[in-house]
Symmetry: C2
Subunit: 143 residues, 2 copies
DNA sequence: TGGAATAATGTGTATCTACATAAATCTTGG
DNA sequence: CCAAGATTTATGTAGATACACATTATTCCA
């Protein structure tokens, strides 16, 4: 259990590596989605809202491994863009977040573009993709 | 080659998964480094500067999978904090970025805290860690 | 019922990131 | 030596993220 060295950080730091991977992937998907004017963060948030499984902003934040306060800002942008409707429509415990017609249309337009980026990633990784996918799931589940 | 569905995104999107993992890891490492007043981004940037292998900001940005413009802002903060010295000291091709005494001391103080976070991650992942590490390297190398 | 305890949400502030564009610097052919 | 072209660095603007703190809504029991 010797002291950690700078070389240890460079070689092993999980946060550094995950952030580097996230930056590269974000740029790639953002570029692919550009024709519809969405960023990958916004696209995946629309997808999560569409699913409609979360019963509160806090629950949705947990599902996305996001701070609730961050989610609030991200949701607000999509509301202002007219893609999400945040009507507190009662119905007991439901979150009240849902896609507008424009939001659903945007999602439909974006899906093929997302698919292109995703296919490119899976192609670039080749046979390594299943292992990478499993690793990302493990990271999210266990950290 | 059917059309992608929302469920495909939820299950497979590499960008979403990588961002979720990065968010969780960032929070964990940031919390660990808090006693020395560094964030994991700043800590790893100090480590990269200390290495001294990059010959330009652009080269350093590439090494970190960062946009040059993003790196400029990150460097500026560390300069203002007195941890990095950006003297363009000539010497031909060198970048001119180097740690100040305070920067080196900060790094020394931070290393054991980083180690705690890193150990926690490796412990939580258990035997999955080597595969996860390999996957992150593959993502960075191939995307 | 009236609050106290709890949960849910929003704001202030700061950092991280990136694209587009501008400015400065370096390199080379004439 | 100088101007055209290329490389490098900085700025404007905008979105993503998080912590601390403030606010609002809900629940539940004495």
């Amino acid at each position: 259990m010797a002291t950690a060295t700078e070389a240890d950080v460079r070689e092993n730091c999980a946060a550094l590596r995950a952030r580097m991977a996230a930056r590269k992937l974000t740029r790639l998907y953002d570029k692919a989605l550009r024709p519809v004017g969405l960023k990958i963060t916004q696209f995946t948030l629309l997808i999560a809202v569409e699913e409609g499984r979360a019963t509160s902003l806090s629950a949705l934040a947990d599902m996305l491994a996001l701070e609730r306060s961050s989610l609030v800002r991200n949701v607000k942008l999509l509301e202002e863009a007219g893609l999400i409707d945040a009507a507190p429509t009662g119905e007991g415990r439901s979150l009240g977040l849902k896609l507008t017609k424009a939001g659903r249309r945007k999602l439909t337009d974006a899906l093929p573009l997302w698919k292109e980026a995703q296919d490119a990633v899976e192609r670039d990784l080749g046979p390594a993709w299943p292992g990478v996918k499993r690793s990302l799931h493990q990271l999210i589940a266990r950290i």
